[in-house]
């Protein structure tokens, strides 16, 4: 199968298209809100919130007795919110650190949710089938009305982020300073967490409770690698999230009916991997290349500086140096000498001795004065 064939379903097949649009919306919203979670170093909070939503879904089902996306969203949001506030309360009022509080609330809520799920499964109600898909998500269950609901919630979240752009930025960068300026940082914090809860709830049907935090963090972490601007980072995170949703949907619909949620998560993890390896400036590959280039330049500068220093002693800046002498210079190697020659910084005279060229003298002088200036300080 050609690569493009994977994506044809997205345009031709109604069901696949619905799922694709749904997961793309989810990717955009979770990418944007995930950026704040990552920058506020609250990555684990997303995981706790998503696990905390499970009992909310089960209780919503117990109350209305039938499956309804809107009510499930509501139940999940209330439970996720309650879990978050509980975590905040523990951190503010006890000596328990936030990581322990997160773990505690996560397991209490998730455990309670699992108990409720097994309880529901034993009930004589034909409607209960399939509630457990919220654990790992089942994008195939997304229908047109679900996607419309997701679009409305998503649009609301994005609107809030645009409206409160300046407030969220200062809250993330320097919350104490923001408070001295008169911003109600507690309220801002609660609004931001509320929108993060909404983003997580959006993804529960397609990606599930267990994997949802990856959707929040992966696009944002990948985007951070490519840019040093908050707005570009957030746009990139949205793009990566959307692409992960679309690609994941396409792959799972075209190939062997793989479960969509986990495939979407794997695709977004692939974005993270590629970004950490290949992004300019922050990427590992780029950093390694720069390190090697620095080393090479350092070696060349050592040789130039030494030739210059010796030449100064001979009162002839183009004084020829034999290989035997230069051999003792730090950084000397045949390869290094070849590269210096290729850059026309040094040349070989008829006696096979090296001397600095005009260009080389200029460069060597710069290095020499630079280094000696440093030593004086």
């Amino acid at each position: 199968m050609e690569f493009i064939d994977f994506f044809i379903d997205l345009f031709t097949d109604y069901t696949t298209r619905t799922i694709g649009i749904g997961t793309a919306i989810l990717g955009i919203v979770s990418g944007v809100l995930g950026s704040y979670a990552v920058l506020r170093q609250q990555s684990l909070l997303g995981d706790a919130i998503s696990h905390a939503t499970l009992p909310g879904i089960a209780i919503a089902f117990l109350i209305i007795g039938t499956k309804s996306t809107a009510f499930f969203f509501l139940g999940a949001a209330v439970a996720g919110w309650a879990g978050t506030m509980w975590i905040r309360g523990i951190v503010q009022n006890t000596r328990i650190k936030s990581d322990s509080a997160l773990g505690l609330v996560l397991s209490v809520f998730f455990g309670f949710g699992m108990v409720l799920l097994t309880f529901i499964q034993k009930m004589p109600n034909a409607n209960q089938a399939g509630l457990e898909t919220f654990l790992f998500g089942q994008a195939a269950t997304l229908i047109h009305t679900d996607v419309i609901l997701m679009a409305i919630i998503g649009a609301f979240s994005l609107f809030a982020v645009i409206l409160l752009w300046k407030e969220f930025k200062i809250l993330t960068f320097d919350p104490q300073y923001a408070a001295t300026l008169g911003f109600n940082t507690k309220l801002l914090d609660i609004i931001l967490i509320f929108i993060i809860v909404l983003a997580i709830v959006l993804g529960l049907q397609a990606v599930g409770v267990v994997l949802m935090s990856a959707m929040l963090l992966a696009p944002a972490a990948a985007a951070r690698q490519w840019t040093d601007s908050l707005s570009i980072m957030i746009l990139l995170a949205a793009l990566f999230g959307a692409l992960a949703g679309l690609t994941g949907t396409a792959i799972s619909s075209a190939a062997m009916n793989l479960s969509t949620g986990p495939v979407i998560v794997l695709v977004s993890i692939a974005f993270v991997f590629i970004s950490f390896m290949f992004a300019p400036n922050r990427g590992l590959l780029f950093r390694e290349i720069r390190k090697q280039a620095n080393k090479k330049e350092m070696r060349m500068n050592h040789v130039l500086e030494n030739m210059y220093w010796i030449a100064l002693g001979h009162e002839n800046l183009q004084h020829p140096h034999s290989n035997a002498i230069l051999n003792k210079t730090l950084g000397y190697s045949k390869k290094c000498m070849r590269e210096l020659r290729d850059k026309h910084l040094i040349e070989l005279n008829e006696d096979y001795d090296w001397n600095l060229t005009e260009k080389g003298i200029k460069r060597a002088k710069e290095v020499y004065t630079d280094n000696n200036k440093n030593e004086q300080q």
Binding site: K166, F173, Q176, Y177, A179, T180, G182, D228, S229
Partner: protein, 247 residues
């Protein structure tokens, strides 16, 4: 009759059960350049943070020009310790300085051309105008400090609180900071600085407060910066503190 920029009465602050500041009474006259000195854990930063409403006191009152802080916010600017933020945050120098204008802008409204010009002027004052579009992750410690100072300058305040602006900075930054402190004083602004280096107190400041949980002494450097107060604040070990001199 001199007006007081800040009046503090019976202020007590505690973290959990341990008192950090105990029954502080302190008046800061308008127009002084004041250093707060004291050993580590004396509550210097806490005092500033309590004045600014970041830390809530157990008891006592604080007045800024006769009113509670939240009613007189626009008169106050703050330079936090530079280590309190993540300098790897994806933004530029100019963007950080612009944050100083957010308070007067209020909610929702974005900074415009006027705020931008003001921020660039402040960057020029701290000799960082060439760095306006630089990523903040590329700055040295001293440069970070000057960016924070510029951010406070655009707040256009009457009173400036600075938490260790000279801690571990290079000579260029130290000079830039001191010049700005003197300029602020010439404009009759009040400046309160948490300071560590006792040897520079008489050169840089005209007013000093000794603090060690309690208020030890406060007044003109000429009259209160002496061995007796230093010993009361730091214990007998103060003589070993490098290069101290008293007025």
């Amino acid at each position: 009759m001199q007006t007081n920029a800040v009046e503090i009465n019976d202020l007590t602050v505690s973290y959990r059960y341990k008192p950090v500041l105990w029954d502080i009474d302190l008046d800061i006259p308008e127009g002084v350049l004041m250093a707060i000195v004291g050993p580590n854990g004396a509550g210097k930063s806490t005092l500033i943070k309590t004045i600014l409403g970041i830390v809530k006191p157990v008891a006592g009152s604080i007045k800024i020009y006769g009113k509670p802080y939240h009613q007189n916010r626009s008169k106050v600017a703050y330079v936090p310790q530079r280590g309190t933020v993540d300098w790897d945050f994806p933004t530029t120098v100019l963007d950080v300085v612009l944050m100083g204008t957010y308070g007067k802008l209020g909610w929702i409204k974005r900074p415009g051309k006027k705020q931008k010009e003001k921020s660039l002027a402040a960057l020029k004052e701290v000799k960082m105008h060439d760095f306006a579009n630089r990523q903040i992750s590329q700055l040295s410690g001293g440069q970070q400090q000057r960016v924070f100072l510029a951010r406070a300058l655009v707040q256009d305040a009457q009173i400036y609180f600075m938490d260790e602006p000279l801690q571990g900075v290079d000579a260029v930054t130290e000079k830039a900071v001191i010049n700005i402190l003197k300029e602020l004083k010439n404009e009759n602004k009040t400046v309160v600085v948490v300071h560590h280096d006792l040897s520079t107190v008489p050169d840089y400041f005209d007013w000093v407060t000794f603090l060690n949980v309690r208020r030890i002494a406060s007044g003109k450097v000429m009259t209160v910066f002496n061995d007796a107060n230093l010993e009361k604040t730091y214990g007998s070990s103060f003589r070993t503190l490098k290069g101290y001199t008293t007025a």
